[in-house]
């Protein structure tokens, strides 16, 4: 049972103010996270403390349940947004303010739509000349994709090992952001 619930009596506890997003969801503070497992873990923890379970009881148990569920959902959102996950990792080292708060930091729907259509197009290409077109699209995108993947992997290693000086790390994050924007154009 998660720490948000008393193991002896099942009562919901107050949210631990010292717990960050990683601690709340019980995952290692790493850049690389399995997001599907994270969502499932969050749902399992929310199940024990969801306000629906305490609506009939009302009062203090309901207030605590709301606070716990809110904290878990906010932690999930933090860890699923790359920029916010980075802030959470840096906050552990006391330097979260180095990454500016960015509202609407998620890639927009239009961008994801283009990527999805491109990948769907690759799969669905048909006809005698399909292999030519498929190869052309792959050629155009592969180099960039590989570069971005390598960069992201290197960034993950740096973050996890905490070996790179922070300013250099931020410069690379900014460069990666710019490159993603370029892909979008």
């Amino acid at each position: 049972m998660p720490a948000s619930v008393c193991t002896a009596c099942g009562a919901v506890q107050d949210v631990d103010p010292r717990a960050d997003a990683f601690a709340l969801l019980g995952v290692e503070p790493l850049w690389c996270l399995d997001l599907d497992r994270l969502r499932a873990e969050c749902a399992a923890r929310v199940r024990a403390v969801h306000p629906d379970r305490f609506l009939a009881a009302g009062g203090e148990p309901l207030r605590r349940a709301r606070a716990q569920t809110l904290a878990l959902n906010d932690a999930l959102r933090t860890l699923t947004w790359p920029r916010e996950r980075l802030r959470a990792l840096l906050a552990r080292r006391g330097c979260a303010e180095r990454v500016p708060e960015a509202h609407a930091a998620r890639p927009d729907v239009e961008f994801r739509l283009i990527l999805r259509e491109l990948s769907a197009g690759l799969v669905e290409l048909d006809g005698p000349d399909a292999h030519v077109e498929r190869a052309r699209i792959q050629r155009e995108t592969r180099g960039l994709q590989e570069a971005l993947m390598n960069e992201a992997a290197a960034l993950a290693v740096d973050l996890t090992a905490s070996l790179t000086p922070i300013p250099a790390l931020l410069e690379r994050v900014a460069a990666l952001d710019a490159e993603l924007l370029e892909v979008r154009r």
Binding site: G10, C42, A43, V46, R47, A48, H50, P51, D52, R53, F54, L55, A56, A57, G58, P61, R66, T69, L70, N73, D74, L76, R77, E101, H103, A104, R106, D108, V109, E110, R112, L113, R116, A120
Partner: protein, 406 residues
């Protein structure tokens, strides 16, 4: 010790209101009121339904609570008004649940549906589409989208306008919409239907409406549902072929041409086992029964319902640009903090405009409310009902409710 409240389900649809309860035989609708019979105002409609439940089904019950369905795109003001209406009607506790989510719960519990499904809710004047993941004991909304200006009423108006163009004299006021709605329904079973339009000069204009003509008239209106459907799928990270089911909700989905269009859009035959106008009320009854049970782990009806924000929550900065605080699809309850000084001009107004954006079109952002921004940080909390509260975070870390000024 106060006695626990008996919980009922409520669905105040445009076409009528329904109260539902869950018993040993499963959920059932116990009161049904056509829109023409219902009193005006949400509180009066709730009281009207609840009084019949108390008289015929739960006599002598001291406390009654409710799970009430709302369109997924109901904004914060509408949700606050509905919660107020439940309080006025004497219901406590009250819980709001998005209509597509309630429908997904009904299909999960009553039909054993599992996997990611799309719920297409097309009411008289509402359109929501949700992508919902269902597994044993869990109904989770992955993404929601919609259009606040779309619904089956729009189709009726388009057909009525086309019929009016064919009349040799002005039609009787108010008659065409009803005729158009009936003709759309009748064309489900036939290829063409006779349409008798009463004219102001007392004559009857005898017209015919064919299925092909209806589809041509409806095409521009139905084309508008495609964008939100694609957006919901993308938000959920799924393709249409990943879906295991398609559920239709609302009276607007009853005509065959709408069902065919939606089926083609998702590449799935829509599920029609539960009545599209009743499924939401059944879902509310199931959820109400779950809330009545309270804190019991591992029970057969221990279903967790995780709803999501249907429209992004933003604040308007001094430059007039909305800054997003919570994205569409954020799991509820959710919160976000904002530094007021970053958003407001130093010498200007100390007001925070909270806006909900419909889609990506900035011109459709609507200011929902304004709060006095007294402290350096404001915390916006959207609770599990989808209702919004704004708190001032004081320098010592304590928070208190911000004053709503409009």
């Amino acid at each position: 010790m106060t006695e626990r409240a008996q919980m009922v389900g409520l669905d105040l649809g445009t076409s009528g209101g329904r109260a539902s309860m869950s018993g040993l035989d499963g959920p059932q609708i116990v009161v049904e009121r056509a829109a023409s019979e219902a009193p005006r105002g949400a509180a009066a409609r709730i009281r009207d339904l609840v009084s019949v439940v108390q008289r015929d089904w739960l006599p002598g019950t001291p406390r009654l609570g409710a799970v009430m369905a709302v369109p997924a795109h109901a904004d914060f003001t509408a949700r606050a008004a509905l919660l107020d209406a439940t309080r006025v009607a004497g219901l406590a506790p009250a819980r709001l649940v998005n209509a597509p989510t309630a429908a997904a719960l009904a299909y999960a519990r009553l039909q054993g549906v599992r996997g990611p499904i799309a719920v297409f809710a097309f009411g008289a004047e509402t359109f929501d589409v949700s992508v919902v993941a269902i597994e044993a004991g869990l109904v989770e909304v992955l993404a929601a989208a919609g259009d606040v200006d779309l619904g089956g009423g729009g189709l009726d108006r388009a057909v009525a306008q086309a019929l009016e163009g064919e009349c040799t004299a002005p039609p009787e006021p108010g008659a065409l919409l009803r005729i158009a709605a009936n003709a759309r329904l009748a064309l489900g079973a036939r290829f063409d239907v006779p349409v008798a339009v009463p004219l102001v000069d007392g004559r009857i204009e005898n017209l015919r409406l064919t299925r092909d003509r209806l589809e041509a008239i409806a095409a521009p209106v139905l084309a508008r549902v495609e964008g939100p459907c694609r957006e919901a799928l993308i938000e959920a990270g799924l393709r249409a072929k990943d879906l295991t089911g398609l559920v239709l909700v609302g009276g607007g989905t009853q005509p065959q041409h709408v069902r065919r269009h939606v089926g083609r859009l998702f590449g799935i035959t829509p599920s029609g086992t539960l009545h599209p106008e009743r499924v939401v009320a059944l879902g509310c009854a199931l959820h109400a029964a779950r809330l009545e049970v309270g804190n019991v782990c591992g029970a057969s009806d221990d279903w967790l319902v995780l709803d999501a924000l249907a429209a992004p929550l933003s604040v308007l900065a001094a430059d007039g640009e909305p800054r997003q605080l919570l994205p569409r699809g954020a799991r509820l309850p959710a919160s976000a903090e904002v530094r007021v000084d970053e958003l407001l001009d130093a010498g200007g107004r100390r007001e925070l405009h909270v806006v909900a954006a419909s889609g990506r079109r900035a011109e459709r952002d609507r200011t929902l409310a304004r709060w006095a921004a007294e402290s350096a940080r404001l915390r916006c909390i959207v609770d599990e009902d989808g209702a919004l509260a704004v708190h001032c975070v004081l320098p010592d870390g304590r928070a208190r409710l911000a004053e709503r000024i409009a």
